[in-house]
């Protein structure tokens, strides 16, 4: 079992101790662990001293994720003694992405994130405040939501990135980032290229793609290179078949050199059995497993209609789910936080940082090589706080 590094910084440690003491109870309560916003400062500076970063108090007084009713179930954000363990789901204490320290530095304000997916419900209570643009790349309209029996996959993905802190439901990884929601449901390459161009021309710094074909077209690879050269980080999901992508005749979007390929970690803090893997997949992030545990909590793909995956814990606007589709927007949220502290980092630097700062999960089952790569677990699981601190450091 991996020991979580709560000691990124001296102040982080002091802050954590303060959390425990000021709350007067153990950190087992996710509802209280965020109640530490005692000092307000507008200064977002990180001071470098002998490779130890110290974060001045930057947590605004009104940022308190425990005010979100279902934050306590969002183990991907805070898994320490998760209350889900009291509901007969097993969640490892270290299964989260170590976001709490990152949120003391930034929540992604000012960063534009594009989501190319099936569309979103723009009126959803946990999306509407952070959606800045909607566009339908299939027909050029601004109709991006078609409620149906299949729901809208994009709803869930969008929520994992930008669900705001608003006292409702859940919170996204980058709750102050701005979402450009692009519907691109038709499958032809020209429409896909148009979607990427719209994202680029709208100022997106990072693009979330929770889909793939196993057969990426040559011209789409060229377009992805153009995104990379333009300083935009594109992130793709590796897929849910539990297979290696290192086989003949499989050339998936998630394996393209110019993108970040993402697999899923799950509640036991190891790779999910369904997560595709391979030598060109870069990182894992929580994607949940509804078969083995609770799944990861986000916005319901059916929007306000609601599905059947509420686990008797949340209302119809939300649902527990699983898949590399959701590990991808979690990763995208972290990258948005990185861009917030350093808008000038390149896609190569983004990849290098998240790899360098990843947590090596898997315990004795893992076999990381000298480059830090394990064939199933890639470079490990994303660590938001370390990645944000490193992104900030690169900019100094």
């Amino acid at each position: 079992m991996e020991i979580k590094d709560y000691r990124l910084t001296a102040i982080s440690l002091l802050s954590s101790l303060f959390i425990l003491s000021s709350c007067g109870e153990s950190s087992s309560s996710n509802e209280t662990i965020q109640n530490t916003n005692s000092t307000v400062s507008n200064n977002n500076e990180i001071i470098q001293d002998n490779n130890i970063s110290t974060v001045e108090d930057t947590l605004s007084s009104d940022f308190n994720a425990s005010g979100e009713p279902y934050f306590k179930y969002q183990w991907h954000l805070n898994s320490y003694k998760s209350v889900l363990n009291d509901k007969n789901y097993r969640v490892d204490d270290n299964a989260d992405i170590n976001i709490l320290e990152a949120w003391k530095i930034t929540r992604g304000a000012g960063v534009k994130v594009a989501l190319i997916d099936t569309g979103v419900q723009p009126t959803h209570e946990d999306l509407k405040d952070n959606i800045i643009l909607i566009y339908n790349a299939d027909d050029g309209s601004n109709i991006v939501y078609y409620p149906s029996v299949y729901g809208s996959h994009g709803n869930t993905c969008g929520g994992f990135i930008v669900a705001p802190l608003n006292g409702k439901g859940v919170v996204g990884v980058a709750p102050e980032a701005e979402l450009i929601a692009i519907r691109q449901n038709e499958l032809d390459d020209a429409k896909t290229i148009e979607a990427f161009e719209y994202a680029k021309n709208s100022g997106a710094k990072v693009i979330s793609c929770s889909w793939g074909s196993n057969d990426v077209s040559e011209i789409l690879v060229s377009e992805l290179k153009k995104m990379y050269d333009a300083g935009i980080t594109v992130v793709f999901a590796s897929g849910n078949e539990g297979v290696s992508l290192d086989v003949d005749n499989v050339n998936d979007e998630s394996e393209v050199e110019w993108v970040i390929g993402v697999g899923s970690s799950v509640e036991n803090n190891d790779i999910g059995s369904y997560s595709n893997y391979g030598s060109n997949i870069d990182i894992l992030a929580p994607g949940g497993d509804t078969w083995e545990s609770s799944g990861i909590l986000g916005i319901d793909d059916m929007g306000t209609i609601g599905s059947k995956n509420q686990n008797n814990l949340v209302n119809n606007n939300y649902a527990f789910t699983d898949g590399t589709s959701f590990a991808t927007p979690v990763t995208v949220g972290v990258i948005a936080l990185m861009y917030a502290v350093n808008p000038n980092i390149t896609p190569k630097e983004v990849r290098d940082i998240i790899i360098k700062t990843a947590d090596k999960i898997g315990g004795s089952s893992a076999n990381y090589n000298s480059s830090g790569f394990d064939v199933r677990r890639a470079y490990g699981k994303i660590n938001a706080s370390k990645a944000v601190l490193e992104a900030k450091r690169v900019g100094l």
């Binding site: 499958l187 020209a190 077209s217 040559e218 153009k226 999901a237 849910n240 005749n249 991808t328």
Partner: protein
């Protein structure tokens, strides 16, 4: 240019066998039509020699090599329309009576063109 000559010879030999194919990263990918129920979008479906299902209509995606006036390059081809999708990527529509694979092969073998393949409709999986 030698590469283009070799590819041309291979292409010519394959054309003698009347096989449909397209180029991808310099390799030939053969395709066989799959019988499908009629669809309103009039997409024809094929299985590639790599085992993937692709759909095509009468449109082609093209990217020229750098520093070439691609509009001028494409103007010599018999197209219904040429649309500039990005700074360097173009979408061509051709008459439905033409064999899209043969047309695409001709484009690919043009020394000024880097990429040319049908505008594929592929099976996308939401993950």
């Amino acid at each position: 240019m030698n590469k283009k000559i070799v590819i041309s010879l291979i292409s010519f030999m394959l054309l003698l066998n009347a096989s449909d194919f397209y180029y991808e990263n310099g390799d030939i990918v053969e395709v066989s039509e799959i019988s499908q129920p009629r669809n309103k979008n009039k997409i024809k479906y094929y299985m590639t020699s790599k085992g993937h299902k692709i759909g095509v209509k009468n449109d082609i995606l093209v990217e020229c090599i750098e520093d070439v006036n691609c509009s001028m390059v494409l103007s010599k081809y018999d197209t219904l329309s040429v649309e500039n999708l990005t700074d360097s990527i173009y979408l061509l529509k051709i008459d439905k009576s033409k064999n899209i694979f043969e047309f695409t092969q001709k484009l690919y073998l043009d020394g000024n063109i880097k990429i040319a393949h049908p505008n594929f409709r592929k099976e996308r999986k939401w993950r």
